[in-house]
């Protein structure tokens, strides 16, 4: 035995165990996120449970089973539940999501499995997805138009309901479009006029003629606004017409106005294919819709948009600088102290904690540079800051510095793989160094630059800490790009997927209800980032193969 230990075999196996543990951790983590994230979109069965409490009273509960766990009798008894049983024995309890938030005190409920006397999944049970107060679970009883039932014998209630919901959703979409589009534009114009007047006033050029012009424009806009408002009100009135009557788990009929209802589903009556259809529908909604209920429901479109926009902006900044620095280090730099210093600087830029970049960005870019820009270019808006406040531009610049080393390292690696015979050949044919660089080397290194850029994008997409200081917000009313001149609003704040996870998971009022959404967002982010990284690895490997053949 001693001899066996001396041979080192157990230690070798222990090191192998470390690899296994790492692999399990990586794959397990990805699997966990994928499973939890995807199950958010899968229509879960809705149960109708009849529960007998300890005192003999029964209660019907309708909801999704959210979680199951084993608890000992002892722990239950300690928590004040009068329940008979041996202390050591375990029993199962279920966490049910019962929804109907405005009617019950808590939309989550613990049920002890042994107390359930009846358990059904009736096909008629419906889930109403609502714009406010979360899901509603119950049986559809009636559909009303102006208080009159519109369900007739020759139309099934489900068809009628679906049709009415579609109409209501369309109306509210039209209203939202109007509000954000035309009315938003009018507000933007009005604000622009206000600033123009102030600006003229500051320069003391506010002549009566100018004043009149501005006032005339303002009145015209106000009139437009009033007309649009009328249209908006008609939409709202129209939407108020229908309502749906649902019987909830207490057996009471509840009337829900149709404009609150976004969708209806009967998960217990779905086959695999219709579930799959519903699943993809939900995924689609998740990536295209705006968040609702303080981000805990609805989609994440503004966060996706914000992340992508910020990352693109960052790429535009980081690529030229990173490539130039890499070219300098590999093609021009001599073997001297400055080169060594620059290399140490690159390593350190990669190693400095991201929060330090955030602090630097906040102090230097936002307050110092942004503050000065405001004083020079936007004095009319002061004291409310334009660029002197966190925004998408500062976030992009801050992250550009943060990801600079990624681009440099990757590009340099690509440059070092280009055989020097190519350079020498080009120079020997009379090309200058700049021409060689531009015509021969950079085109050949472009996949490596691409790799660096992809890695930089992946890094930036997942970074949250610095963004919390330089521009990310919980909920941005306006996207950084819209139809108002100059179309790109780099001073605006934006939403970000990573921050969305932090915010919804830790700062939201109803963490339990929002958790599945956080998993779904995490899955989205992880998919994007792992995808980008795998692409980068693929491109790099491809590149290596290519030059291996060139070298030989």
């Amino acid at each position: 035995m001693n001899h066996w230990f001396k041979s080192g075999k157990p230690y070798i196996w222990l090191t192998a165990g470390a690899v296994s543990v790492s692999l399990i951790a990586v794959l397990g983590l990805l699997a966990l996120i994928a499973w939890r994230g995807l199950s958010y979109f899968w229509p879960a069965a809705i149960y109708e449970l009849e529960v007998t409490a300890q005192d003999g009273s029964t209660q019907v509960i309708i909801g999704e089973i959210y979680d199951r766990e084993e608890v000992s009798y002892e722990r239950l008894q300690e928590s004040g539940l009068a329940i008979a049983g041996d202390g050591d024995e375990m029993l199962e309890r279920w966490l049910l999501k019962v929804g109907n938030r405005e009617l019950v005190p808590l939309d989550f409920m613990w049920v002890l499995a042994p107390q359930v006397v009846r358990q059904d999944t009736p096909k008629d049970l419906a889930v109403l997805e609502r714009a406010k107060d979360g899901n509603f679970y119950g049986y559809i009883v009636d559909v009303l138009e102006n208080g009159q039932s519109v369900v007739t014998a020759d139309h099934s209630i489900r068809d009628v309901l679906a049709e009415r919901i579609e109409r209501a959703v369309q109306l509210s979409e039209q209203a939202a479009d109007l509000q954000q589009g035309d009315i938003g534009a009018i507000n933007y114009q009005l604000n622009r006029l206000r600033l123009e007047r102030r600006s003229l006033g500051l320069e003391e050029q506010l002549t009566p003629a100018e004043e009149q012009r501005i006032q005339a424009e303002e009145t015209a806009l106000q009139q437009q606004y009033q007309e649009l408002e009328k249209v908006l009100f008609t939409y709202r009135e129209e939407a108020n017409r229908d309502s749906v009557v649902v019987r909830d788990m207490r057996g009471i009929d509840v009337e829900i106005p149709m404009y609150r209802v976004l969708d209806v589903a009967y998960p217990n009556d779905m086959g695999v294919f219709s579930k799959l259809g519903h699943f993809f529908g939900q995924v689609g909604k998740f990536v295209t819709e705006d968040p609702r209920e303080a981000n805990t429901e609805g989609g994440v479109f503004p966060a996706i948009f914000g992340t992508v926009f910020m990352v693109l902006l960052m790429s535009v900044i980081v690529t030229p600088f990173g490539v130039i620095a890499a070219v300098y280090l590999h093609e021009y730099a001599g073997k001297n102290t400055i080169t060594r210093l620059i290399r140490i600087a690159v390593i350190n830029l990669a190693g400095v904690p991201s929060i330090v970049y955030g602090v630097f960005g906040l102090g230097f870019f936002v307050y110092m540079v942004g503050g000065s820009l405001d004083q020079i270019f936007y004095p009319e808006a002061l004291p409310s800051p334009t660029f002197g406040t966190p925004g998408v531009m500062w976030s992009a610049i801050t992250l550009a510095i943060l990801t600079l080393p990624v681009v440099i390292v990757s590009t340099e690696e690509g440059l070092s793989r280009i055989p020097s015979s190519l350079r020498e050949g080009s120079l020997a044919l009379g090309a200058t160094k700049a021409e060689t660089l531009w015509r021969i080397i950079l085109p050949m290194a472009s996949p490596a630059i691409m790799t660096g850029l992809i890695l930089a994008v992946a890094r930036a997409a997942g970074e949250v800490a610095p963004l919390m200081l330089v521009g990310v917000v919980k909920s941005a009313p306006m996207l950084p790009v819209d139809g108002n001149f100059p179309y790109f609003h780099l001073d605006r704040k934006f939403m970000h997927l990573g921050f969305h996870i932090y915010d919804v998971g830790f700062q939201s009022p109803n963490v339990e209800a929002a958790r599945p959404l956080v998993y779904a967002t995490s899955l989205l982010l992880v998919t994007v980032i792992v995808g980008l990284n795998l692409t980068a690895i693929g491109v790099r490997n491809h590149l290596r193969e290519k030059y291996r053949s060139l070298e030989s």
């Binding site: 600088f321 160094k433 700049a434 956080v518 992880v526």
Partner: protein, 746 residues
């Protein structure tokens, strides 16, 4: 011909110029990287530097004293544009302090002069932030005076005018016996007013006046509650705290502290004898901003601070610390409006500036060569007004960050109300009277604690995995395994933090015994499996080679881990009475938080493993093959070769891997932010959380006021992080470069 040649030459000139431009442009671009790093460094330094700047006092104006008689109090309004002076004849004079746009003011111009009290016998001022003054009149009556300022805006220019409203403060009778008052103290809170006075027959009286609304008439009237204090002998000083709960009477070196109840009942709380031999005779006394501390000036230039500390006999005033302002007697102590800064005037005319919390001696000099007699600070602490030899002088005061000193940041400080000196980080609070507590020790400790637990977890796994992958694994498997582990590095830490906080933390709490069992059972089972493979029949043994161990072990680790967690409730039931958490809290007396260091260690460990793994693996893999092959050829086993040759050669690389990992763990923000409770505590307990420098910045930065001490200290925290990681990374990089040179020569 000639023309085309010229054209060619010109073209080649253009090409050369282009080449040169490219060279310079690219060189400059390369230099930008260095500039960026230097910019970060120097910008952080630039923001941090002012907190260590000393106090400076620069002269502005001087002018003749306005009004008559002897000065009893000076004051300034918020913008320090107007000053005022109370004198012993009962006259209040407002005067301009500086020239102002839109007015013809010259410094010293009298703006308003008014007799506010006739033949006063005593005078007192409230704490600076309460802005009231009181004269004692004949027959035990008191006149309260409140200098007021009215601001109006015309064309964007602010005009301030002083005024007083005599109707607001009618004369109040304090002493029912109507004796002349020779000493007076006064404070108010809302409608309640507390007076303490000494009469000419040496009685010390206290009178609490509370407003009450009469049921019948609906008018408010002041209801007095009069008490005579049981004190004999002459009184030197009299103080009333602004919360109206205490009266402090000084007779020589003896301080009698009386507490006043809400209804006005006065009881003796403490008699404090300030040791004459130890500290010296008392010459002056004053309350510090926030009114929790008594500052006592002594005749030997010493100032001592006393505040209430919880003891067995309730809260008692205690000696805390002392300051030294020259050798001559302290004539008066002036405290600032909000901060714990105070100013002293010595008998020889020097002015001293001190801050209590940071124990900072900020200034001690004769300001402008003057013998200062009276001194006052404006509410924003930007201007000093000094009376000297019937002249008034204004000075600009630069004292932005007195509360920060190097020792205050890194050493124990005795904060007001605390039983003993402590390291505390508590930057903000709701009230103005709050004493900010800026000790970087708890949050630096938190950083080290988090990094340490992460490293305990990450170093063994990361290094062992690197060794195996680089040395034992088949090249084909390595090609898959390495990128897979490295993918983990790309995982956003916000996701790791979220999983740690909301998924892992509850699991660990529920299955703690299972988790501990995993730590023991998984390695044991690995060794058992290793032993089993060596006793297997030959054909099986050939399949279970060392190179395949990692793959074989994956299902085993999963099953053993799952079993351990399945066993957890049983272990809990049998050994810990059904509830480990309660067992730890009650039986072992260890605090248990759900989001604790263990969770952070695991989550951050996973974030650090890929860093360590990747660099260490590279280092081991690039050890020249002839070294290991030589060793094997000489008869060493693979394990011997590994430990004696390969690891030794690669050790600098492994060191740099650990350094890089440490650098990453120190700076990580989101994981600690989400997976701990973020409480700044000083405790290694694995079941409690911590607050790290980085998380602290993320939490507090958005709320801190730009340019405030708090803001700059957060920058200092960022600077500390920068330096930490800079040191680790530079060290690691230098080691790695040397290693690379060494290998290339081998």
């Amino acid at each position: 011909m000639a023309a085309s040649q010229r054209a060619q030459l010109e073209a080649s000139n253009v090409r050369l110029v282009k080449d040169k431009v490219a060279r310079w442009g690219i060189t400059f671009g390369g230099g930008l990287v260095l500039i960026a790093l230097l910019l970060i460094f120097f910008y952080l330094l630039y923001v941090v530097a002012p907190i260590f700047r000393s106090v400076s006092i620069d002269p502005m104006h001087n002018f003749a004293l306005a009004g008559s008689g002897q000065t009893v109090a000076l004051g300034m309004e918020e913008q320090s544009e107007i000053g005022f002076r109370f004198d012993d004849t009962g006259e209040l004079t407002f005067f301009a302090l500086k020239e102002r746009i839109g007015t013809s003011w010259q410094p010293g111009d009298v703006l308003l002069q008014q007799q506010v009290a006739s033949q006063p016998t005593a005078f007192t001022a409230t704490q600076p932030q309460n802005k009231r003054y009181a004269y004692a009149l004949a027959e035990g009556a008191v006149q309260v005076v409140e200098p007021k300022f009215r601001s109006r805006f015309e064309h964007g220019v602010r005009y301030t005018t002083p005024y007083i409203d005599p109707a607001e403060h009618p004369v109040i009778a304090i002493d029912p016996q109507q004796r002349t008052l020779v000493k007076l103290a006064y404070e108010y809170q809302g409608n309640s007013q507390l007076f303490a006075a000494v009469t000419d027959d040496q009685r010390v009286i206290v009178n609490l006046l509370q407003a009450s609304r009469s049921f019948l008439t609906g008018t408010t009237e002041l209801k007095p509650k009069f008490t005579e204090l049981p004190l004999q002998g002459s009184v030197d000083d009299l103080l009333v705290t602004p919360d109206l709960r205490q009266v402090i009477v000084r007779q020589g070196n003896r301080l009698s502290i009386f507490s006043v109840s809400r209804t006005g009942t006065v009881t003796e709380q403490q008699t404090l004898t300030v040791d004459r031999r130890q500290f010296g005779p008392i010459t002056s006394m004053s309350l510090l901003a926030g009114a929790s501390s008594i500052m006592i000036g002594h005749d030997n230039g010493r100032i001592t601070q006393w505040f209430e500390v919880a003891t067995e006999n309730g809260r008692q005033y205690k000696y805390i610390r002392q300051f030294q302002a020259g050798q001559s007697a302290i004539e008066s102590i002036v405290s600032e409006f909000y901060r714990r800064t105070f100013y002293t005037i010595s008998a020889t005319g020097e002015v001293g500036v001190f801050h209590t919390t940071s124990e900072a001696d900020l200034y001690f000099e004769k300001v402008g060569q003057l013998h200062a007699e009276h001194l006052v600070i404006d509410p924003r602490a930007n201007t000093v007004l000094i009376e000297s030899n019937n002249q008034l002088h204004t000075f600009e005061l630069h004292n932005e960050h007195p509360e920060v000193t190097w020792s205050g940041l890194w050493q124990e400080v005795w904060y007001e109300g605390y039983p003993e000196p402590q390291y505390v980080w508590q930057s903000t609070s709701g009230s103005d009277a709050f004493e900010p507590k800026f000790s970087l020790v708890p949050i630096s400790f938190g950083t080290i604690k988090a990094a340490a637990y992460a490293m305990i977890f990450a170093v063994p796994i990361g290094l062992a995995a690197a060794v195996y992958t680089a040395y034992f694994m088949s090249p084909r498997a390595r090609k898959v395994v390495k990128p897979t582990v490295e993918i983990m590095e790309a995982l956003p830490t916000v996701i790791l933090g979220f999983l740690a906080g909301l998924w892992l933390a509850p699991i660990i709490e529920q299955y703690l015994p299972g988790f501990v069992a995993t730590l023991i059972l998984v390695p044991t089972s690995i060794i058992v499996v290793a032993a089993l493979t060596s006793v297997l029949p030959k054909e099986w043994r050939n399949r279970c080679t060392d190179g395949r161990a990692a793959v074989i072990l994956v299902p085993i680790v999963v099953v053993v881990g799952w079993l351990s967690f399945e066993l957890s409730p049983w272990v809990e039931q049998t050994f810990f009475g059904g509830n480990v958490r309660e067992y730890i809290t009650n039986e072992l007396g260890i605090t248990f938080d759900q989001r604790n260091s263990l969770v952070v260690g695991i989550a951050m460990g996973f974030a650090v493993i890929p860093t360590i793994f990747s660099i260490a693996e590279d280092a081991i893999f690039s050890v020249p093959k002839h070294l290991s092959q030589g060793s094997l050829a000489l008869g060493a086993t693979t394990w011997q070769t590994l430990t004696k040759v390969v690891l030794l050669t690669a050790s600098p690389g492994i060191f740099s891997a650990v350094m890089m990992g440490l650098g990453r763990a120190v700076g990580e923000t989101m994981i600690v932010l989400m997976a701990t409770g973020n409480t700044p505590i000083l405790d290694w307990n694995i079941f409690e959380g911590m607050r790290t420098l980085s998380a602290n910045i993320a939490i507090e930065m958005p709320e801190s006021e730009v340019g405030s001490s708090h803001y700059r200290i957060l920058f200092l925290a960022a600077f500390v992080l920068f330096i930490f990681t800079f040191a680790f990374n530079t060290l690691a990089e230098l080691v790695r470069q040397r290693l690379r040179d060494k290998y290339s020569s081998m």
